[in-house]
């Protein structure tokens, strides 16, 4: 081996070390809070008042915290199911409405189209807290207060401006010729949308889904205002009860257990949908 190539090899080695070191360091800062929270949730109740470091249980793993958590409200399962119903319902409704609206805005010509579109986007500027009272009154008039369906409708409403915008852009990116070729091939209406266009706007759909799920899953204020019976509470509302503690004593173990329960579906949804961000899906369609 010559001097030159030896030096080059050594250089590559140190660059590799630095590259991986920086990567590991960054990953550590992202993952540390998860580990601290998840480990702390397995502390026995006797340890729950201890300082946060070290986070791991000192006297063996225990499910005390989860048992305590289950003692709040109507039981952790009930609240998780409430949250899942609301969040998944929000995702489905948002996707259906925004796909149809995005397709319409992208492909059809109708009067006042651009005005309407700007109006929809403009609602993003209204702080949602300011319309909470009217929303509450409307839902009450519809007989939907204290119902998960009512809450779902509110989440869909809040989610739609962004989602319609996303989906219009997604449809705009699909060349018109592909749609025309499909029409000549005999695909019409729903078939055209489902068999040809939907696969092409899947990145947009997955973005919209992830946002809709996370926002509905984590939303607190509207859920607190609208839901009045214990059995209907979603997880964020339950968590404030847990955080408020009983008789002034906060069980930090139960809080960590609740946080852990709340993280799992978010991770799941993200991992499930991110594979649809296939790069270069459109490559080869035209040109």
């Amino acid at each position: 081996m010559t001097m030159r190539s030896k030096r080059r090899a050594r250089r590559a080695f140190w660059i590799g070390i630095a590259y991986n070191g920086i990567g590991l360091g960054t990953a550590f800062f992202f993952l540390a809070p998860f580990f601290v929270g998840i480990l702390a949730s397995f502390r026995p109740s006797a340890e729950s008042g201890r300082p946060p470091l070290p986070p791991w249980p000192l006297t063996g793993f225990s499910f005390d915290a989860y048992r305590t958590l289950d003692g709040f409200g109507a039981g952790i399962w009930q609240h998780t199911i409430n949250s899942l119903i609301v969040s998944l319902g929000t995702v489905v409704l948002t996707v259906v409405v925004s796909v149809l609206a995005g397709y319409g805005f992208s492909r059809y010509r109708f009067p006042l189209k651009n005005v309407l579109f700007v109006l929809i986007i403009a609602t993003l500027m209204i702080p949602f807290q300011s319309i909470l009272t009217p929303l509450f009154i409307i839902l009450a008039k519809l007989g939907l207060n204290n119902s998960l369906f009512g809450l779902m409708l509110i989440y869909v409403t809040l989610q739609l401006p962004f989602s319609v915008f996303m989906m219009r852009n997604a449809f705009d990116a699909v060349p018109k010729e592909i749609e025309e070729a499909a029409r000549i091939d005999g695909a019409r209406d729903i078939k055209l949308l489902a068999r040809v266009l939907l696969p092409l706007v899947m990145p947009g759909v997955s973005t919209v889904s992830i946002f809709a799920f996370l926002n509905a899953w984590n939303e607190f204020l509207a859920a607190l205002v609208l839901l009045s019976s214990n059995g209907n509470y979603t997880l964020p509302v339950l968590m404030t009860a847990v955080r408020a503690g009983r008789l002034g004593a906060i069980d930090w173990g139960a809080v960590q257990a609740g946080v852990t329960v709340m993280i799992i579906p978010c991770l799941f949804v993200f991992l499930l949908l991110q594979r649809y961000y296939m790069r270069g899906l459109m490559a080869g369609a035209v040109k």
């Binding site: 010729e177 592909i178 025309e180 070729a181 000549i184 091939d185 695909a187 080869g284 369609a285 035209v286």
Partner: protein, 361 residues
């Protein structure tokens, strides 16, 4: 190959198209014979694509009637017209394999699986894409994508194939080989084909009949030979042929005689001759002009410059009255820029056009 005209395949009757208040197609009448290869050619923006898309059913017809195989299809859905279309941009379904791309229309019409397999195999054999069936469009070259797009049209067994500039995204070499392939395909399938292009070479080589369009109107319809040798007006004369036909200002001085640049030239006698002394245009193609070695009787001109292309040479000259005239020359006479020469014309190849550009014949 000779086409035996059997029946009208596509008939356009006074077709008009407006986008908003702007009319872009101004009343087109055309009858395409069964099995004919018709090429729409014209400058960009003249309405070729719009006309083709109206036949396909992708664009609504503002006025007029379209008949395919004797059936009025003016208001039918594209899939029910018995047509297939190949787009300039290929427009393949990127999320499907080549096989699925080919099979899609058959699936939509609920064809049996066995029949789908048979037709896909047949089409891919004709186009030599059998080995690509399991790839995605993204993994294909431009030429291969174009074949798949054509294959997608073939499996439908349409009455009429529609092509919208299918070769313009290919590089020059591939374009020539695909052009030959298309001609072969037409021979083998024998379907009616309507082909849009702005490339006159494609039009001349592929067409049984050429339709020349300008600004939403038909300028002339005819075989490539008719269009080339017998153009109806100065637009057609100038549009087809490279280098362009020479069109020179002149004056009608008597029956069948035109004076150009001080020289009197014989043109075909005409029944509808213009009044004596009126302005006309005189047309002659570059290959019908010759450099006169010795005769002093020809048209005097000065060589401005020349282009040497191997087999031929284009000589750009200036006449005594300042007009330009191009000569296609196949001799190897030594020529220098600035040299004075004398030009003679092939007998019987001269054309005359009246003041509005219409042919005098």
């Amino acid at each position: 190959m000779t086409i035996v005209p059997t029946a009208a395949s596509v008939v356009l009757a006074d077709i008009r198209k407006s986008f908003g208040s702007l009319e872009v197609i101004h009343g087109i009448d055309l009858s395409v014979t069964e099995g004919e290869f018709v090429v729409f050619v014209g400058p960009s923006g003249c309405g070729k694509s719009t006309l083709l898309r109206m036949i396909a059913g992708l664009e609504e017809v503002t006025e007029g009637e379209i008949t395919i195989k004797g059936r009025d299809v003016t208001d039918l859905d594209p899939s029910e017209r018995g047509i297939a279309m190949v787009f300039q941009s290929y427009a393949l379904y990127p999320h499907m394999s080549v096989r699925e791309n080919l099979a899609f229309s058959l699936k939509m019409s609920r064809t049996s699986v066995a029949e789908i397999d048979r037709r896909v195999a047949q089409a891919s054999a004709v186009l030599k894409i059998d080995h690509l069936l399991d790839r995605r469009p993204g993994q294909l070259s431009g030429g291969q994508r174009q074949r798949v797009a054509i294959g997608r049209a073939i499996v439908r067994k349409p009455d009429v194939f529609l092509f919208d500039e299918p070769l313009s995204n290919l590089d020059a070499e591939l374009r020539v080989s695909m052009r030959i392939e298309l001609a072969r395909l037409h021979r083998e399938l024998g379907n009616t084909m309507i082909y849009v292009t702005h490339d006159q070479t494609e039009a001349m080589t592929l067409a049984d009949r050429i339709v020349i369009l300008r600004d939403g109107r038909i300028e002339q319809v005819g075989t490539p030979r008719q269009i080339y040798e017998d153009p109806a007006n100065t637009f057609v004369a100038g549009f087809i042929g490279s280098p362009r036909m020479n069109l020179l200002r002149g004056r009608w001085v008597g029956p069948g005689r035109v004076r150009v640049s001080g020289v009197e030239i014989d043109v075909p006698l005409s029944v509808a001759a213009p009044p004596e002394g009126s302005e006309v245009e005189y047309g002659i193609r570059p290959e019908h002009v010759e450099i006169d070695r010795n005769a002093r009787s020809g048209m005097p001109a000065t060589v401005e410059f020349s282009e040497y292309l191997g087999g031929t040479r284009y000589i750009y000259t200036r006449l005594t009255d300042g007009q330009n005239l191009t000569v296609e020359d196949r001799t190897d006479i030594a020529i220098e820029n600035g040299q004075s020469i004398s030009l003679s014309r092939h007998a019987g190849k001269s054309l005359a056009f009246d003041g509005n550009g219409g042919r005098i014949r």
